[in-house]
């Protein structure tokens, strides 16, 4: 009887663990293309027919570095070494420009973060040799940066020899890592490149414009930049950031820009003088306020380049706008009773909303915004 219970317990446990690691029972109903994970049309538990490690387009788990565990203990059975005390959070902070979470968690399905051992088998002698084994996978993750960073490949730079393992390591590591952060990476606002291009020597690049206007994440441009991008690899203990510029080919220099500016000609960026930051009001005479400032250019101007000039008529963009359903309070001003009955043109002469509304139709000596036809509300 005891044996039967034991078998049931083991079965229950194994099934339980499997379910926990699976991407979710009904994930087939989600909007994911099956072929992004499976090679066959009808994957089963026994034959999941995984595609070989897609590193791109698979990442669905994005946590902020601060939300992650400070310390992760990697404790795989090993006769030579004790567990590795991995400072996860600080590594997560450092990896912002190195592919982000996906640099390590490269095969995440929705919801749960998969364990490495889900795909990477612990034994080197295995059926599917196309996917690295667990030892190889772990070491490659660490070594690819660490050997570039410190030129060290010695086991002891991460592992504690089994003879030196103490019970207090966990507490010591926790203490050591508590509150330890990578200083925030400061974003430049403007970078001026002085190039060799004769027809236009200067390329003025406004970093924050690109980030804000085009809603770019760090990794959209800084996808594979390791520590050595900023730190002096030959002197890693130095706090100073390196000033030596990398030697890059012409192609590499333009690669990042070309991912969006492929169709633009040289003069788009290369000019004979520095250019001022783009200012919608200065350039077009129409200031972007509260709502519109948060939109990216293509929301109004469409993706066709060069951008066409729009008129000031709201309806030219807000095509579905109807007077009957319009609620004035979205503008931040809730109209009081008599005013809400009026037509738009009664205050906004000629339906021109770019100029101040007038009160002269009904009131004498009333000036907006000194006198308001309603109450200011938050938007």
């Amino acid at each position: 009887m005891k044996k039967i219970f034991a078998v049931i317990f083991v079965l229950f446990f194994t099934v339980g663990t499997y379910a926990q690691q699976s991407p979710g029972k009904d994930h087939a109903k989600l909007h994911i293309n099956c072929v992004s994970c499976h090679t066959c049309g009808l994957p089963t538990k026994d034959e999941p027919c995984w595609v070989a490690c897609p590193r791109e387009k698979m990442i669905t788990v994005y946590l902020k570095a601060e939300q992650t565990d400070e310390l992760v203990i990697i404790d795989q059975a090993n006769e030579r070494f004790g567990p590795v005390y991995f400072s996860h959070r600080i590594h997560a902070q450092m990896s912002v420009m190195l592919g982000g979470c996906g640099n390590c968690h490269h095969h995440n399905t929705l919801e749960q973060i998969l364990k490495c051992s889900k795909c990477h088998e612990p034994s080197r002698q295995r059926e599917n040799i196309a996917i690295l084994d667990l030892k190889g996978a772990y070491h490659r993750q660490c070594m690819e940066c660490h050997r570039e960073w410190s030129h060290e490949t010695g086991c002891k730079s991460c592992h504690i020899p089994i003879s030196e393992v103490k019970g207090s390591h966990k507490e010591e590591s926790k203490k050591q890592l508590a509150g330890k952060v990578h200083p925030p990476v400061t974003e430049p606002t403007k970078i001026v490149y002085e190039t060799n291009y004769e027809k236009g020597k200067f390329v003025t690049y406004y970093h924050d414009d690109h980030v804000k206007n085009f809603k770019l994440n760090c990794i959209d441009c800084h996808a594979q930049e390791s520590c050595t991008k900023c730190h002096d690899v030959n002197n890693p203990s130095s706090d100073k950031l390196k000033l030596v510029k990398e030697k890059k080919s012409l192609e590499d220099h333009h690669k990042k820009c070309f991912s969006c500016h492929a169709k633009d000609d040289c003069a788009k960026c290369h000019l004979d003088k520095q250019v001022e930051q783009f200012n919608h009001e200065k350039r077009t005479g129409w200031a972007l306020k509260k709502h519109h400032i948060n939109l990216s250019c293509i929301n109004c101007h469409g993706s066709k380049r060069p951008y066409q000039k729009l008129n000031n008529q709201c309806v030219s963009c807000h095509k579905n706008w109807k007077k009957e359903t319009f609620k004035h309070y979205v503008t931040g001003l809730r109209l009081t009773e008599p005013h809400s009955e009026l037509g738009c043109e009664d205050c906004h002469a000629g339906n021109d909303y770019s100029v101040k509304p007038g009160c002269n139709g009904c009131h004498e000596n009333f000036v907006y915004p000194k006198q308001k036809p309603g109450i200011l509300v938050g938007k």
Binding site: A52, R55, R124, Q125, I129, A130, L132, D133, K135, G136, A137, H139, R140, M143, R147, E148, H151, T153, G154, C155, K156, T228, V233
Partner: protein
């Protein structure tokens, strides 16, 4: 090492002799092994992943009962400043080269026997001590080896080494694909220890697929070339790299099997009994001329 021994060699010689003298050969050998079987094993060395820790060097020595020293002592990277070759004391070595494309990492290259599909050493060995096994490894029988070192001269990768320093019973030494481990179902020692799995051991055809796939997925990481896929008719050990292989001291060998040249010359000369026939013809000619001259001299005397 292999099933062969000096006794087998003598038996074979007797058998061949008996066939030649018209006696029946009851001990005739079975047909040749399927040395180029579909499932023959190989190893894919990804030099872009290798970190140059040299654990493979230690494991190799340890598995072959060579003085290996302490594994910790292999962490000293100074040894990588000089280029080394595999020899009788180290059957595999790792060399370091300046960085390849898109990286400032050095390129570390493990060197050992390539275990050719058409091995020149097997062709050159005059006592038949060398053989290509069905699992892909090229091994040799130390009992049969007479120490002629033809294998060393024949090898296009200059791999076999000789224990010159040993006065008594010096042996040919080279990587044997850990034949003693693989026959028991274990992985080669170097493959087993590699921390980053830069060495992938598996069926050769599968490794080629994996290698192609890696190049396809990471065109920036690799040059589009699998060394050993076609070189000298294909080898069991194959390489991926981030820079041209000639910059990593690999010889530019072409696609023809290495024994092809030597064997065609040798076989060409000996075809259709040309050497014995021409030798006897020459000797016969000399005999005839001498005889003729004597006859003339005697005629003159008369």
């Amino acid at each position: 090492m292999s099933g062969k021994s000096r006794r087998d060699f003598l038996k074979k010689s007797v058998a061949i002799g008996s066939v030649a003298t018209g006696l029946s050969a009851s001990t005739a050998k079975a047909g040749p092994k399927n040395i180029l079987s579909e499932d023959r094993m190989g190893v894919l060395v990804d030099t872009t992943a290798c970190v140059g820790c040299r654990n493979c060097e230690w494991a190799c020595k340890d598995a072959h009962n060579l003085p290996a020293g302490n594994l910790d002592s292999y962490e000293d990277r100074k040894i990588l400043e000089t280029k080394r070759r595999p020899d009788q004391t180290a059957l595999t070595v790792v060399n370091e080269y300046p960085h390849g494309k898109n990286s400032n990492l050095p390129v570390d290259v493990k060197v050992q026997c390539m275990h050719c599909d058409h091995p020149a050493c097997v062709s050159a060995c005059i006592v038949g001590a060398f053989s290509k096994q069905e699992n892909g490894s090229v091994i040799w029988d130390t009992d049969m080896c007479i120490g002629c070192r033809y294998c060393m001269a024949a090898c296009p990768f200059q791999i076999p080494a000789f224990e010159y320093d040993k006065a008594i019973n010096p042996l040919i030494m080279k990587c044997d694909f850990c034949f003693n481990r693989t026959k028991d179902g274990k992985l080669p020692a170097c493959v087993n220890i590699c921390p980053v799995e830069a060495l992938t051991c598996g069926p050769r055809h599968e490794l080629i697929k994996i290698a192609r796939n890696r190049i396809k997925r990471n065109p920036n990481r690799y040059v589009n070339h699998i060394l050993g896929e076609y070189e000298v008719g294909g080898t069991s050990w194959m390489y991926l790299a981030s820079k041209e292989f000639k910059e990593l001291d690999f010889p530019d060998l072409g696609k023809n099997p290495a024994p092809g040249v030597s064997e065609s010359i040798q076989h060409g000369i000996f075809a259709y009994f040309v050497p014995p026939v021409s030798l006897y013809a020459l000797l016969g000619g000399i005999m005839w001329i001498t005889k003729r001259r004597k006859e003339l001299e005697e005629e003159e005397k008369i």
